[in-house]
C-alpha cells in the first residue's frame, strides 16, 4: 500500500492511499464531527457535518480521498459557521427529550453538539410543533421518527450488511422518513429483525426493546443453530440484560440474527425447571435432588444393555455429550445411545464416511465468500442458518454464481440465481442429471479423479442408462435448465455445495448425499479454499454430538463399534471396542445399538438386513437428555406410546417439554449461559462457552448430573471430574481428531478438527492432500429411487417441512414473547392453484390429514411453492403426527420426513 503525506490542522499525517480524509483524521486523534459515516459502511456524504477546507475549497471529508501534499483544515471560520448551522437545523428537528432517551450519553448527536456548541436560544424558535408517534409495535425494536436524523445508516446497513433491503428513504422534503415498502410496520416487510440497524443507529431513533446496559460481558457462543456465532452476554448482577455480536469472531464478525440477538430471554423464563420432579399418582411433583437421584439410581440401575435407551442432547456441550456416551456404555452397558442427528444429518455423516471419510464442512464459514459457485439445495440458510445466509448473499453480490434447488422460493431467490424447482423427494434424479451432463460434456476434473479417487468407472457405468429426459420427467425441472446448472457448477471454481434436511430426510437420503459428494469429486472441488461441501448442521452442537459418539455406530471420534463394520473399506478400523475398554477401564457391550427412530419404532424398515426390520421392542427404560422427542421424531405418535408404556423414563432438560411431561423423573439442567464447556460448530470449529449467570433454582449442569448418577451407580472413579476442562483433557486423550484441543489453547486459537496434537494448528480446509481417513475418495454406483410413500387420490399433496427465521424448534424460542409475536402463528403454505381448487384463501382454517393423523392449521396461499406441494413449519402444531417413521435410510437411519402425502380439507 502506498502511503500518502498530508497535513491536517498543521499536523503532518501519513495515510494509506484510498483512505478518506475523515478516516485519516480520526486515526490521528483529530475529531471531525460526523453522523452518517460508519466504519463498516460505504460513505454516503448525507449529513454534511464532516466538512473540511482544503485549499479554500469546502469538501465532505467522509467521501474525499487523501492526496499527496494535501493541506486540510478542519475548523476554519467558514467550516465552523456552516457546520454549526447544519447541526442546529438537525437539532431543531430532533426530539430533545434526552433524559428519557435510551441513547442518552451514547448518542452521536449529543457528542457533536458538545463539540460544536449549540445555542439553545437560537433553537427555541425552530422547535417542530408536532411530536411524531413512537412506533412500538415491533417486539424488539422501538422506532421514534422524531429522533431520526436521516443519516441513512440503517438503510445502508440493511442493504450492505444484512442484504434484506427492507427499508429506504421514503417521501421527500420535510416529510422524508425511513420506511418500508408501503410504509408498513417493520414486521410486515422484508425485515429480518436482525437488529443490525438498531445497533448502528447513532441516535435514539431505533432502540432495542428490553435491553439494559450491562455491568460486565461474558464471551460465549450462540445456543441456537450450528453456525457457531460468537457473542457477548451482557450481565448485570445475576441476570443477562443484553447481547452483542462478537466483532472479532471470524464467523459472524459481530453480526447476529434475530434469535441470537433477541432470543436469549428464554434463559430467565419463568417456565425454566428449577427443581427435580417425581411423578406421583400421575402428577409430576417437586422433589429434592437426593430423592430424585436415589430414585433414578434404584430404577434406572435395574436395566442393562438392550433394555435401556439413552439420548444425548445436541444442545449440550461436547464434554456432556462425551459423558452421556460414556455413561450409556460404561454404566448402563448399552450401545443404544442416540441423538437428534439421526433425524437429520446422520445420512450425511454415515453416508459420507465410505465416500470421503468425513462429513465435516470442508471449509470455514468465512471462506464461503471465496467460492465462485454456490449450489444451495434442500436448505434455506437465510432462515435456518442466517449468518451463513449473509455470507452467501455477500458472495453472490461480489459475483459468485448461485444455483438454488428447492420446491419453495426461499429468501435467497431474491438474489440473481439459477433456480431448479424440483418436486420433493426427486433430488437424486436431478443430481444424477447434473452428473450425467458433466460426464457428457466432459466438464470433469480428470486429473483429480485419477489421482485422488477410486471406482469412478463403476459410478459412470451406473449412469449409462440414465437420461436427462428421465431427470426432467421425475424432478419436473426442464432438462435444459439441469444442463445449465451442471455447466455453471462444473465451470465456476471453487464451488461449494450447501445442503440440509431437504437432502437428508429421505429413506434414501444417503444416496442424495453421495450424489452431491460425487459432483464435488468429479469437478475436483475438494481440498481447496472455498470448495467442497457444506452440510449445514441444525443445532449449536449437533456436530459435537456426532463427534462425541452419541450414536450406536461409533465411540467418541468416529471410532467404530462392534456390529457397525458396515463399510468394507473400514476393515482396518473395524472395532475400537478394545481401545475404549482400555481407556475407560471396564468391559463394554458387544450388542449393536439402535439409533433414534429404531428405538421407538423397532419395526421401521430399511436399515440393516430384513432380519432387522421387524424387531420386537426390547427397551423398557429411557434416559433422555435435552431432546424433545415427542415433537421432533417422525411418527411422533409412536414415541408417545412407547414412552407411556415404558417402565421408567428419566428426562433431563431446561424446560418441561412434551417429552418431559411423560417422564417418571425430571431433572432440571443448566442452560448454555450457566455452565462452561465447548460447542463444535458446523464448520468443525471447537469453541468455548462460558458461565455468565447462576442456574435457576436447584438446576445443575448436565455433566454434574451425569457424574452424580454414575457415582451412585458404582462408577464414581470413572466419572470423577472437577470441571469441564478436565473432561476435555480426557476427550483429547481418546479422540485423535480432538487430540490437540484444550481450554488453554481455545482461549487464544481458532481450532477446527482434526487437531491431532499440541503442535497441530487444526484444519481449516479438509482433504487438502488426501481424504481424511480413507486416503482416496470413492465413487459409488447410483440409481434413482422413488420415495416409499407417494401421493395418491386420497392424499394428493406432498407435505414438506422446515424452519422459520425467528424460531428455533419447539421450546427455547417459544418461551420468548417477542419471537412468538413475530412468528408465533402456525400456517400451512399452499400454491394458489391448489388453493383455488380447494376454494381456500389465506387465513382459512384447514385440516391437514396424512395416513397417520391430522392437525389443524391456517392456510397461507402463495406463489412461492410448487403446485402439489404444501409446506408446514415444524415449530408449532405437532407436525410429526403426520410424518412416517416406517421407512428409514439403510445407512443413516434417517426417516422419510420430507415427503409426506397429505390432503387438505377446509375446517
Amino acid at each position: 500500500m502506498t502511503q500518502v503525506n498530508l497535513t491536517i490542522d498543521q499536523l503532518d499525517v501519513m495515510a494509506e492511499e484510498g483512505t478518506t480524509i475523515l478516516q485519516a483524521a480520526l486515526a490521528n486523534n483529530i475529531y471531525i464531527p460526523h453522523l452518517c459515516s460508519h466504519p463498516e459502511l460505504r460513505p454516503a456524504g448525507i449529513c454534511r457535518l464532516c466538512l473540511v477546507e482544503v485549499e479554500g475549497q469546502l469538501l465532505v471529508s467522509c467521501s474525499t480521498a487523501v492526496a499527496e501534499g494535501m493541506v486540510v483544515q478542519t475548523a476554519t471560520l467558514e467550516v465552523e459557521k456552516i457546520r454549526r448551522l447544519a447541526v442546529e437545523l438537525m437539532v431543531a428537528e430532533h426530539e430533545r427529550t434526552c433524559l428519557s432517551c435510551g441513547k442518552n450519553n451514547d448518542c452521536k448527536l449529543q457528542e457533536i453538539c458538545r463539540f460544536v456548541g449549540v445555542d439553545e436560544k437560537r433553537l427555541a424558535s425552530l422547535q417542530p410543533a408536532e411530536r411524531k408517534l413512537v412506533d412500538s409495535s415491533h417486539p424488539f425494536i422501538t422506532k421514534d421518527e422524531s429522533k431520526c436524523v436521516l443519516c441513512g445508516i440503517c438503510v445502508r446497513t440493511c442493504r450492505e450488511i444484512q442484504g434484506a433491503e427492507a427499508i429506504d428513504f421514503i417521501s421527500r422534503g420535510y416529510a422524508t422518513k425511513i420506511g418500508t415498502f408501503g410504509a408498513r410496520p417493520l414486521q410486515e416487510s422484508n425485515c429480518e429483525a436482525c437488529g443490525e440497524c438498531v445497533i448502528r443507529c447513532p441516535v435514539g431513533a431505533l432502540l432495542p426493546r428490553g435491553f439494559a446496559r450491562p455491568s460486565r460481558e461474558v464471551e460465549t457462543i450462540c445456543p441456537f443453530c450450528g453456525t457457531g456465532c460468537g457473542l457477548f452476554l451482557g450481565v448485570r448482577g445475576d441476570r443477562i440484560v443484553s447481547v452483542r455480536g462478537n466483532p472479532g469472531h471470524t464467523t459472524n464478525r459481530g453480526r447476529l440474527c434475530v434469535k441470537g440477538r433477541f432470543g436469549w430471554t428464554f434463559v430467565h423464563s419463568q417456565e425454566r425447571l428449577k427443581t427435580p420432579l417425581i411423578k406421583r399418582k400421575g402428577r409430576l411433583e417437586e422433589a429434592s435432588w437426593e430423592e430424585a437421584l436415589e430414585l433414578v439410581t434404584a430404577k434406572l440401575g435395574r436395566y442393562r444393555g438392550e433394555e435401556v435407551g439413552v439420548f444425548a442432547s445436541a444442545k449440550t456441550t461436547n464434554e456432556e455429550i462425551y459423558l452421556t456416551s460414556k455413561f450409556a456404555r460404561v454404566v448402563l452397558k448399552t450401545n443404544n445411545i442416540a441423538n437428534v442427528a439421526h433425524l437429520c444429518h446422520a445420512n450425511t455423516v454415515r453416508g459420507l464416511l465410505p465416500v470421503t471419510g468425513s462429513a465435516g464442512m470442508t471449509v470455514p464459514v468465512w471462506q464461503i465468500k471465496e467460492a465462485a459457485c454456490l449450489f444451495v439445495t434442500g436448505c434455506n440458510p437465510t432462515e435456518a442458518h442466517p449468518i451463513i445466509g449473509l455470507e452467501i448473499r455477500q458472495a453472490v453480490r461480489s459475483g459468485a454464481k448461485l444455483i438454488i434447488a428447492n420446491p419453495r422460493e426461499i429468501p435467497l431467490c431474491r438474489l440473481p440465481h439459477l433456480r431448479l424447482p424440483l418436486r420433493p423427494g426427486t433430488d437424486l434424479a436431478l443430481l444424477l442429471g447434473i452428473a450425467k451432463t458433466i460426464l457428457e460434456e466432459k466438464l470433469l476434473d480428470e486429473a483429480f479423479i485419477a489421482e485422488r479417487t477410486l471406482n469412478f468407472d463403476t459410478f459412470k457405468a451406473s449412469l449409462e442408462k440414465f437420461s436427462l429426459a428421465e431427470a426432467e420427467a421425475v424432478s419436473g425441472v426442464p432438462a435444459e435448465r439441469i444442463r445449465e446448472a451442471a455447466r455453471l457448477y462444473a465451470t465456476s471454481k471453487p464451488a461449494l455445495i450447501f445442503w440440509s434436511m431437504g437432502i437428508t430426510q429421505h429413506s434414501h437420503g444417503h444416496k442424495n448425499v453421495w450424489a452431491l459428494a460425487h459432483l464435488a469429486m468429479m469437478t475436483g472441488n475438494y481440498g481447496k479454499a472455498g470448495a467442497g461441501v457444506a452440510p449445514l448442521r441444525g443445532h449449536n452442537n449437533v456436530q459435537g454430538a456426532t463427534d462425541m459418539g452419541a450414536t450406536p455406530a461409533w465411540y467418541p471420534g468416529y471410532q467404530l463399534c462392534p456390529g457397525y463394520e458396515l463399510y468394507p473399506r473400514f476393515g482396518k478400523f473395524a472395532s475400537s471396542k478394545e481401545k475404549f475398554e482400555a481407556a475407560w477401564g471396564c468391559e463394554l457391550p458387544e450388542t449393536p445399538g439402535l439409533s433414534t427412530v429404531k428405538q421407538f419404532n423397532p419395526r421401521a424398515r430399511g436399515w440393516g438386513g430384513p432380519e432387522m426390520w421387524d424387531l420386537p421392542q426390547k427397551i423398557k427404560a429411557w434416559y433422555i437428555i435435552g431432546t424433545d422427542l415427542v415433537n421432533s421424531v417422525a411418527g411422533s405418535h409412536g414415541v408417545r406410546q412407547n414412552l407411556e408404556a415404558a417402565e421408567f423414563v428419566v428426562v433431563q432438560d431446561i424446560f418441561l417439554t412434551e417429552t418431559a411431561k411423560l417422564a417418571h423423573v425430571v431433572l432440571p439442567a443448566a442452560s448454555f449461559a450457566e455452565k462452561d464447556g465447548t460447542f463444535t460448530a458446523t464448520d468443525r470449529r471447537v469453541q468455548r462457552i462460558r458461565r455468565a449467570v447462576t442456574p435457576p433454582g436447584l438446576a445443575w449442569p448436565d455433566w454434574r448430573i451425569i457424574c452424580e448418577l454414575a457415582g451412585r451407580m458404582g462408577y464414581g472413579d470413572k466419572f470423577a471430574y472437577q470441571d469441564p476442562a478436565q473432561i476435555m483433557e480426557e476427550i483429547a486423550s481418546v479422540v485423535p481428531l480432538y487430540g490437540g484441543i484444550s481450554y488453554g489453547r481455545l482461549e487464544k486459537e481458532e481450532l477446527r478438527w482434526p487437531c491431532y496434537g499440541q503442535e497441530h494448528g487444526g484444519t481449516p480446509v479438509l482433504h487438502v492432500d488426501r481424504f481424511l481417513r480413507v486416503e482416496k475418495g470413492e465413487f459409488w454406483p447410483l440409481e434413482y429411487e422413488l420415495s416409499p410413500e407417494l401421493p395418491d387420490e386420497e392424499y394428493p399433496l406432498v407435505m414438506t417441512t422446515g424452519r422459520l427465521l425467528p424460531h428455533f424448534h419447539y421450546n427455547m424460542t417459544a418461551k420468548v414473547e417477542g419471537i412468538e409475536a413475530l412468528g408465533g402463528k402456525d400456517f400451512v403454505e399452499i400454491n394458489e392453484e391448489d388453493a383455488a381448487a380447494l376454494q381456500l384463501k389465506s387465513g382459512d382454517m384447514v385440516r391437514l390429514v396424512s395416513r397417520r393423523g391430522s392437525l389443524l392449521s391456517r392456510a397461507k396461499v402463495s406463489k412461492a411453492i410448487l403446485p402439489g406441494v404444501v409446506f408446514k413449519p415444524i415449530h408449532k402444531g405437532a407436525v410429526n403426527l403426520l410424518t412416517s417413521a416406517d421407512f428409514i435410510d439403510p445407512m443413516g437411519t434417517t426417516p422419510n420426513t420430507k415427503v409426506c402425502p397429505v390432503r387438505l380439507e377446509k375446517a
Binding site: E165, A166, I167, D168, R172, F181, G182, A183, S189, N190
Partner: protein
C-alpha cells in the same frame, strides 16, 4: 401477474434507470400504483421493493390509492390561503368524510391540495376535474359537489 403489467414490462429492457417511466406507465394503466404491481416492477428491475416505493413516494405525481372519478384540487396558494382556503378544505373533508389525499369509499371523489392554480383573482379557488370554482364559500361546498353526484 396481471396481464396489463406484463404488457407494460414487455416494452422495457429491465434496466433500473427505467423505473420512473415504468411507474408512470403503470399509473397510467391503473390510475394509481397498486402494491402488487410495484412488487412486480421491483422483481423486473431487480431492485428492492423498498427502493421502488422510495422512488415512487419522492414524486408528487404518483398515487398509492385508487383515484376517484372526479379529482378535487383545493388551491392553498398565497392568495387562496389569505382568503380562507383552509376553511374550504375543512368543509370539503367534512362533507366527503375523507382526509386530504384520500378517495371517497364510493370512488366518486379524490381530494387533494395544490399550491397555486393561477387564478388568484378568484381566490379561494377549487378545481374539480377541469372546472374552476372561484370565490367559493364554505356554505356553497355541498351545492358544488351535488353537481357531480
Amino acid at each position: 401477474m396481471d396481464e396489463r403489467v406484463k404488457n407494460i414490462l414487455a416494452s422495457f429492457r429491465g434496466h433500473r434507470s427505467e423505473i420512473i417511466p415504468i411507474l408512470q406507465a403503470v399509473q397510467h394503466e391503473f390510475g394509481y400504483l397498486p402494491e402488487q404491481e410495484m412488487k412486480e416492477i421491483a422483481k423486473f428491475l431487480r431492485v428492492p421493493e423498498s427502493q421502488v416505493y422510495g422512488v415512487a413516494t419522492f414524486y408528487a405525481q404518483f398515487y398509492f390509492t385508487p383515484r376517484g372519478k372526479h379529482e378535487i384540487k383545493v388551491c392553498l396558494g398565497t392568495a387562496c390561503h389569505v382568503r380562507g382556503a383552509n376553511k374550504i378544505l375543512d368543509a370539503l373533508e367534512r362533507e366527503l368524510g375523507i382526509c386530504c389525499g384520500e378517495t371517497t369509499s364510493d370512488a366518486l371523489f379524490s381530494l387533494e391540495k395544490v399550491a397555486c392554480v393561477g387564478s388568484c383573482a378568484l381566490a379561494p379557488v377549487v378545481m374539480i376535474d377541469d372546472n374552476v370554482y372561484g370565490r367559493l364559500e364554505t356554505k356553497k361546498v355541498k351545492e358544488v359537489l351535488g353537481k357531480y353526484a
